[in-house]
Symmetry: D2
Subunit: 313 residues, 4 copies
């Protein structure tokens, strides 16, 4: 399988982890889920990320799931989250999934890092631990990690480590960070791929500022695929029309903690996964939540059909 590199682009969907109603890992549901993401136009998949309930899997389950997804996805590169409190576990998981055919790994900083030097050193050590043949994604998600990485530190991480090839951009606010990184590139810094997160809530602006696509898990990946394509074609107004149609639901899905339950509920309804089950500890949706989701989907469907009438998007 082809590895990710500094020119990778498109939508790498952050995949959920499917469980059966009894809480077991639903390995037999993997193909169906991968097919769903493929049909939606995904360029790649990212698994075992924070939103994939990775910490709720045992090590053995993580490996089985990763291997199954990679096997089911010979045509789409699969990035695997290998963030871990220690380097031994990171090395093991990284080696296992790269052997199985992963396209690269993703590493978030541990939450005790504070100073620029600590962050830089951590990534240098991690880059060495996974090995120079393994390309990796830097996950910059301060809302959850509590680690603030300035643009200048990001640039040094990418300059120092040849295998650092992609940024999962999830700072909030983070638009100026994209602009700063692309400005540095224009002046000679290494070309890196920037895929954006935050549930796609700023995708239109992010694309206009130089992102290469998205790496997030909104339950309608076709929105992100469409916006990305239109933006690359320079059709920013049409990209925004499409984006706006999905925004009320995307906003609703982007509730910390609750969001994954909403996402799995919708993915289950859309046939992507066979159960909406989350492993505990995790939130449960109420009848009011279900009602709001239904309303939002109904309005979204209506608006999309009006859009089609008007524009043939």
């Amino acid at each position: 399988m082809q590895k990710i590199n500094g020119r990778s682009e498109g939508v790498f969907v952050i995949s959920v982890t499917p469980f059966a109603e009894n809480g077991d890992l639903d390995l037999d549901g993997v193909e169906q889920m991968v097919d769903f993401y493929r049909s939606a136009g995904a360029s790649g998949l990212t698994i075992l990320g924070m939103m994939g309930e990775a910490p709720k899997l045992s090590q053995e389950e993580s490996t089985s799931f990763a291997t199954r997804v990679i096997k089911a996805s010979p045509d789409m590169p699969v990035v695997v989250g290998v963030s871990a409190p220690g380097f031994a576990a990171m090395r093991d998981l990284s080696a296992t999934v790269m052997d199985a055919g992963a396209a690269g790994v993703m590493i978030a900083p541990p939450s005790n890092l504070r100073s620029d030097e600590q962050i830089q050193n951590y990534y240098s050590q991690a880059a060495e631990v996974i090995g120079t043949e393994t390309p990796f994604v830097v996950q910059d998600f301060p809302l959850v990690t509590n680690v603030v990485i300035s643009s200048s530190v990001l640039l040094r991480i990418f300059a120092d480590n040849a295998n650092a090839v992609m940024l999962k951009h999830e700072d909030w606010p983070g638009l100026s960070k994209i602009s700063a990184l692309r400005a540095a590139e224009a002046e000679g810094a290494k070309r890196i791929s920037i895929l954006t997160g935050n549930g796609g809530l700023f995708l239109t602006e992010e694309m206009e500022r130089g992102a290469d696509g998205a790496m997030t898990g909104f339950a309608y990946p076709e929105m992100m695929v469409g916006v990305t394509r239109l933006a690359k074609a320079g059709e920013h107004d049409r990209a925004r029309d499409l984006f706006d149609a999905y925004l009320p639901l995307a906003r609703y899905e982007q509730q910390p903690g609750l969001g994954l339950a909403i996402r799995k509920h919708i993915l289950n309804q859309r046939g992507a996964i066979r159960s909406a089950r989350l492993r505990s500890p995790g939130p449960k949706l109420t009848q009011q939540d279900f009602g709001e989701i239904e309303t939002l989907i109904a309005r979204q469907t209506k608006r999309l059909s009006m859009l089609e009438l008007n524009e043939g998007v």
Copy 2:
């Protein structure tokens, strides 16, 4: 002036603090700003909140500004943020503004509170410090305060303190909290006013779940006024139509840190304040930011006129 109480409703706009280009407090611009908020349909004003740059004012400036706003707003109740690291400063500011005619005060928890007991005790002490004649708003904003207040603790705070009459609801996600508080009320808990924050991003759902209005500072308060009125009239679909038209910009304004600069830029353009100046430390907008705001406003204007054509909102 009438004080706030457990039945207060409508939109209490979180007011910005206007500065002149040189950074001085623009006291002479206060009437113009209050007029703007009144014209937009505000039911009340909230000043010296976190988004009002309160911590950047000296104590003397805080008092001058509060007094001026209260004087300029004989018809709209004014709530004043009096959160402080210690009770002496809280007592002083609270007494001063209530004497000047404020309708109540707002208190956020200091960020070192953790256990339920600590939070409850803090509010009991604060309630006593400001005096039983001073009604107050509990500000529940964990994203910024880092203090998590469960629904049961909120209920105890409101039950224990007669002058606790309103919740500035700003948990995220927080929809289930509104439902829980209203369910408790249905079973006999004290009636409290719930006004919601978070830039209005969940206002439609919040109104349907029982909120009495909004207390936040989106630069187009007329959106919140309109949504609130339509929701109260049971016209939820039309409320959502209106909401959706403003959502792309509301989303853009809701960027932590940067948001206030965006808000002041728009308010300045709309004639509400005479300068978009923020006191340092604070972010500066770039040409790209200005461009994005312009695009979003243009699209919003267009969509609102289509809405008027269709629905006469």
Copy 3:
């Protein structure tokens, strides 16, 4: 092997994890280390805790190490830290070590817990996940976990879960917590074992307030053993004499982050472990550090001999 229960007492030494100079787990050094702790008078051992570099082990290494220690310690109960970001990993590790003969497991709260209800629910779920036959230790260490557990919440956790039998008391300050828990017990609350942490820095006061012993890893476990025994015999003044002799070094060892490197250096010098190696990321001692440790040990030795002359401790 006997399991821990609400009457367990003495010193459960928090064991380090021994590595070889090349960073490999030094499994063959386990017997020597266990012998050292036994000779020092330990009543039990606790492994894979936060100070045991547990997060730096792969899952396989954790299991191998735990099994080896349990086998080497047929006479001393071994408690195993099983804190994990998710319940699947916790269940797996817990089952494995209990099968191998562990005396119980220890569980620290994940750092995102805030409200009383969240903490209580978490422990109820965890208690069920590990199974009612597995007694467990609640680790209360807010300085590191950032989770504040009030005395009343601790009491509810112990009341709700029959297999919650011991508190690793590591709040700071925490003396009043011991008093509160013992006062509750006097009024009928379940008897629990309280073993204290924080490097033993408050052991004299903790014993006088009702602790049953210590669970911490100071490189001179004989201090804790001696203080515990003297305190139980009511010889508080002699307990303090002994304690004071070790205090300058105990204080020095209690430096966050650096402390483990100091501890391993001393344990290596004392023949407990074959290398002072820490796995990265971890601090390195400097010549100045080594010099200070040498000075402190020399003074400690001198003072202990004076104490023996005077008191025959």
Copy 4:
């Protein structure tokens, strides 16, 4: 009065703020307190720090108290804490106290700073706000501020701002930071004064590594004065003898939150302040606490007399 500079040395006692039994500021008790600190050998005083209950004073009280202390201390330089959430309040308080004769001000970083660049910019802005004629102390206390400042960032702050002349060193662990700063000085970096905090718990090692003295508030300032003098005279072993005699109590006083109540209780007993009152919110000592303090003081007294017999310190 002479201002602080990069060669200031000795013990700048962190002064408590004295309250009357009814909670009022005890301005008339200021002279008595200053006399106590002077008699103990203090070289200077630091007021309105975090441990001085500064945040519990109104702005007017802060000014009255600072003025009174400065007036009572014509012979000892007085440093005033002016940390504030915004620059307007910082500028006001700084100007007022410098006019009244303060020797300098102290500034801690606001807790939202994260990256090196943010910290450096903040201090450049603050240095300008207070004015180039006002020398200031950088307070580096991550345990409370949650801001981690690396040695290289400290060096840049001192290099960039001529009026940055002193470090209140309170990182923990922080011994290597002193060594790093002194090593940089040996290679040409600006000479700064380093006074250490943390209740004096590491004073012996800190002095040996190049500190110029202490800036902390242990209730027996004569310990810090003695250790500082002996260390400067190269009498490190005698310095440690003295230090060790006070260590059990110093350790007990260094309990976060509770520590200030213990300190005020002892200072009240020693005649330094007329009431041990803390303003709420604050902890209350129990009978057990009082008993432990009494035991520790009795043992300390006994040990000090033995020391005098032996060494004539």
